[in-house]
């Protein structure tokens, strides 16, 4: 199922969970700065990276996302002191667990983007989109005929 040739015309669907204070504002900066980035992203704004439950990520995949991006404030910048640091622990475990289960790496990405980093936001989206595009549409497990 992978490879761009087999998926001509296909555009990845990427769900981005962005914290309100830094990354969402960073996306805004990218827009204000008229920076180009792929239109593959559906943004969901959350109060803090710490608000992002692993459920959100699995639900996004379950409902058809090909990739998921989670982005919050850089360490030290969290508006709730350490919400992003707590989130980092959760996501470190989740990233490893999904890899362990054989779920393709490259579909789930975590990063930090600050409010002023419009350029970085555009680059991140570019990188994630390219990575997911290389992987092709997410493989769905419809199971056997039991």
């Amino acid at each position: 199922m992978t490879g761009t040739n087999a998926n001509a015309g296909w555009e990845p669907r990427i769900v981005a969970f962005l914290c309100n204070w830094c990354s969402y504002a960073g996306a805004d900066s990218a827009g204000v700065g008229r920076m180009q980035y792929p239109a593959s992203v559906r943004v969901i704004r959350v109060p803090c990276a710490g608000r992002i439950n692993p459920f959100f990520i699995l639900s996004a995949f379950r409902r058809g996302a090909d990739g998921v991006l989670v982005s919050g404030c850089h360490p030290g910048d969290c508006h709730y002191i350490s919400g992003n640091l707590g989130a980092r622990r959760k996501f470190a475990l989740m990233a490893r667990l999904l890899g362990h289960l054989g779920i393709e790496e490259g579909r789930l990405h975590f990063t930090w983007v600050s409010a002023s980093e419009g350029g970085r936001f555009a680059e991140v989206i570019e990188t994630v989109t390219e990575r997911v595009r290389e992987l092709g549409p997410a493989r769905r497990n419809a199971g056997g005929a039991r």
Partner: protein, 333 residues
């Protein structure tokens, strides 16, 4: 033409013969981890014919864990998805499994409203059962009006005899399968059921029922079920449990309405939107399960809702043995 299957190899050949029939689907016990489940087999080597019974009952052949009732494509209207299965043969059911299907027939295909999904699968099904040579520690079929050579529900019963089996045709459908498989059959019962190893002394169902009904408000329910975890292992491994929920979801761009297995042991089963729950405690829910099987079903369906297969005894993570509760509440006082 022979009416006897001499030993295991002949049994394998019979299964091979059935598998070779065009246009049939065959289910038989297959290995699943350390246990066994009824699943579709394509070759006789997949089947576990020596197993003393599958861990998972054949119920999912007729009432799958999740079954689409209606589906709607984007922009379309809802269409029902009643299956049209090809002829299906359940090979190697235990007599208790076949009796459980008799019970399911009364639930789904009885009364004035027939469940078309179940009925379509049932109509296509032929059941070949193999009698039980010896009971397991968990068996209690004899307490539910069954037995190791019980014929109810089976189209064909292979009665153990020496190292082999005698073919008994129970129904027309069984006769047709026997004919196609190149077997003959014995005319009458050859084996004396009473001479067979039985699963313990039978319990008197009608006396049991009366005592259970009297024990409804017995204060011991709570203590005797205190270790119940409230999981659904007993109900989901039960061959005759039939409860389900109906849920809607979006599945790969289609909107589907499905039914999924549900369990009276779950806290959410009877809890109303207002928060009121007529069966709020684990003891209430356990009592309901027991009373349903041994009292209510006798009234509604003329047979107990339990065939004594023992799967719930085996599966219970905390070994809450339904037989002990039957004796505690329904035994002689």
């Amino acid at each position: 033409m022979t009416d006897t299957i001499h030993g295991r190899e002949s049994l394998v050949r019979l299964l091979e013969g059935i598998l070779a029939m065009p246009g049939v689907t065959v289910y038989a016990p297959v290995a699943e981890g350390d246990g066994a489940a009824f699943d579709r087999v394509l070759s006789a080597s997949e089947a576990l014919l020596d197993s003393s019974g599958a861990v998972r009952p054949p119920r999912q052949i007729l009432a799958p864990m999740t079954e689409t009732l209606l589906a709607m494509e984007p922009g379309g209207s809802a269409v029902d998805s009643v299956p049209a299965p090809e002829p299906t043969i359940l090979f190697g059911a235990r007599p208790c499994d076949a009796r459980a299907i008799v019970f399911l027939d009364r639930v789904y295909a009885g009364g004035d409203r027939i469940d078309p999904y179940y009925a379509a699968r049932r109509e296509a099904l032929t059941i070949l059962s193999i009698g039980c040579r010896e009971p397991r520690a968990t068996c209690f079929c004899t307490s539910t009006r069954g037995g190791p050579l019980s014929v109810e529900g089976s189209d064909i019963l292979l009665e153990p005899s020496g190292e082999g089996w005698i073919v008994r045709i129970i129904t027309e459908r069984g006769a047709s399968l026997v004919g196609r498989a190149g077997l003959g059959s014995s005319d009458g019962r050859v084996t004396d059921p009473a001479a067979f190893p039985q699963a313990g002394a039978p319990r008197d169902l009608s006396a049991l029922r009366g005592r259970l009904e009297q024990a409804f408000d017995d204060p011991r329910w709570e203590a005797l079920t205190a270790k119940c975890l409230g999981c659904g292992a007993c109900t989901f491994l039960c061959p005759s449990c039939h409860c389900f929920d109906i849920v809607d979801a979006e599945e790969d761009g289609r909107i589907v309405r499905s039914r999924i297995w549900d369990s009276c042991q779950f806290k959410t089963f009877t809890r109303q939107a207002s928060g009121h729950d007529p069966r709020p405690t684990g003891a209430d829910r356990y009592r309901h399960r027991l009373m349903h099987k041994f009292s209510y079903c006798l009234e509604s369906y003329g047979m107990p809702g339990c065939v004594g297969c023992g799967r719930c005894v085996e599966a219970c993570p905390v070994n809450l043995d339904i037989r002990l509760l039957l004796d505690a509440f329904g035994g002689e006082r």
